[in-house]
Amino acid sequence: MSVVEQLQDPIVKKGLFQVTAAFIFAGIVMSLSYWRGLALEKELTRAFLRGFVQVLAMGALIGVLFSLAFGWSIVVLLGMTLAAAWISKDRGKALPNVFQLSWSSIVVGAGLAIVTMVVAGAIEPTIQNLLPVGGLIIANAMKTNSLTLDRFQNELENHRSQIEALLALGIPPRTAISQYMTNSIRAALIPTVDSLKSLGLVHIPGMMSGMILAGANPIYAAEYQFVILSILFACGGLTSMTSTFLMGEYAFTEAQQLKTFEAETA
């Protein structure tokens, strides 16, 4: 079906009504945010509009992408990692080399996770399988990286005097910040760990439900979903660890002085 034909489909009109309802609901939350003085409206509005346009574009293009040769899946996945790093870098604006750091962390975390899944036979090496599952994994790596950056930047600024007190004793920089690296990794993994804990009790994942509705064996669907979540956990852990490791490198000068970040934050 061409993009024009897709747009003329009556289901699209129904979808637009649902989108309007979702926007109204989100609008109420944004009004509450404004009322509470959370100052999130600008970022939320931009995120909503951007997300809507992007997902529509992907919806229209996915058919074309699925028809491409396998080699293109690597190009598209790499493009996704670049976009993910570009979005994630804003969470650590004040940190030096934050785009390179985010991209490296996402590539390490998501890349190893995707390769592991292909090798284990959990994803068939076809563009139709690699793009949706790869996208899911990259998005998870991006989310973990953003949480890590946000937390680590705050940890460094809020504990500057404690870190410098340790440096002043002749403690190596990496040791001086190890506690704050651990805190950041733990905080970044909370959503993934909680998803694993609530799996089957609270969290009935869409992928598993979709597989069951499509006629797959429910036990296999559950096993597959567990594989996905475990991979997401491993991917998040790797991304977060790589991210903090690299930040540990970039946060100090050659003379082991903690760099100042406030200027860029302001």
Partner: protein, 223 residues
């Protein structure tokens, strides 16, 4: 007498603002040198340059005639201890804080030595106290013990008695004098209290707007 530590033409600028402007001085072994000056004159910034927590934009520091840039920052900071104005202790007990330097470097820690140091700083039996329950003055003394336990050759003290009551201030001054007399440790003391500088130090330099405006002899160095 050969200088233990010598600052040569030290300058420090941040975003074109001059914080320290061409400061030179030296301090000999076993001497207490005071740095006095009004708020914002650059006293604390100068100490941070000496510990190399900040990088001088010009000039350098010599420790036993060796340019401190030739030493690894870790070696340098072990030899030149720095006690900041705020204690900045780590969460945990007093003993964990006092022994943190050698412990994090993987060295063997003698708890007895730490306890002796705590006794000298009037913190006997405080070893298992959580530092978050200590008063500002007690925390400051733990910070001093933490630096001294690291066995530095030079100690940089930034307003060490600012948060102490008069009695504890006098005790700490006595302790510092005893320590310097017994171990020949070298000390650079930043203070806004000139009477304290005169009680403790052999010489005093005055800073104004980041520049050294005077060097005063107060009393002879005890060798």
């Amino acid at each position: 007498m050969t200088p233990k530590l010598e600052a040569k033409s030290l300058s420090y600028q941040v975003s074109e603002k001059t914080i320290i402007n061409n400061v030179s001085f030296h301090v000999t072994q076993g001497e207490i040198l005071a740095i006095a000056g009004p708020s914002g004159s650059g006293k604390s910034s100068l100490l941070r340059l000496l510990n190399r927590l900040n990088e001088p934009t010009a000039g350098t520091v010599y420790l036993d005639d060796q340019d401190y840039r030739q030493l690894s920052p870790q070696q340098l900071r072990q030899r030149i201890g720095y006690i900041a104005q705020t204690p900045a202790l780590q969460p945990g007990t007093v003993l964990e804080n006092v022994t943190i330097g050698p412990r994090l470097r993987g060295e063997t820690v003698t708890e007895e030595t730490a306890q002796q140091l705590l006794t000298r700083l009037h913190l006997t039996d405080y070893d298992n106290y959580n530092v978050s329950y200590l008063s500002g003055g007690e925390q400051q003394r733990v910070a001093i013990a933490r630096t001294l336990f690291n066995q530095p050759e030079v100690v940089l003290l930034d307003e060490p008695t600012a948060s102490l009551d008069h009695h504890t201030q006098q005790e700490l001054e006595t302790f510092l004098q005893e320590l310097i007399n017994s171990s020949q440790i070298t000390c650079i003391l930043v203070t806004h209290d000139e009477t304290q500088a005169k009680r403790l130090a052999q010489r005093m330099i005055r800073l104004k707007n980041g520049a050294m405006v005077a060097l005063e002899e107060l009393k002879p160095v005890v060798s």
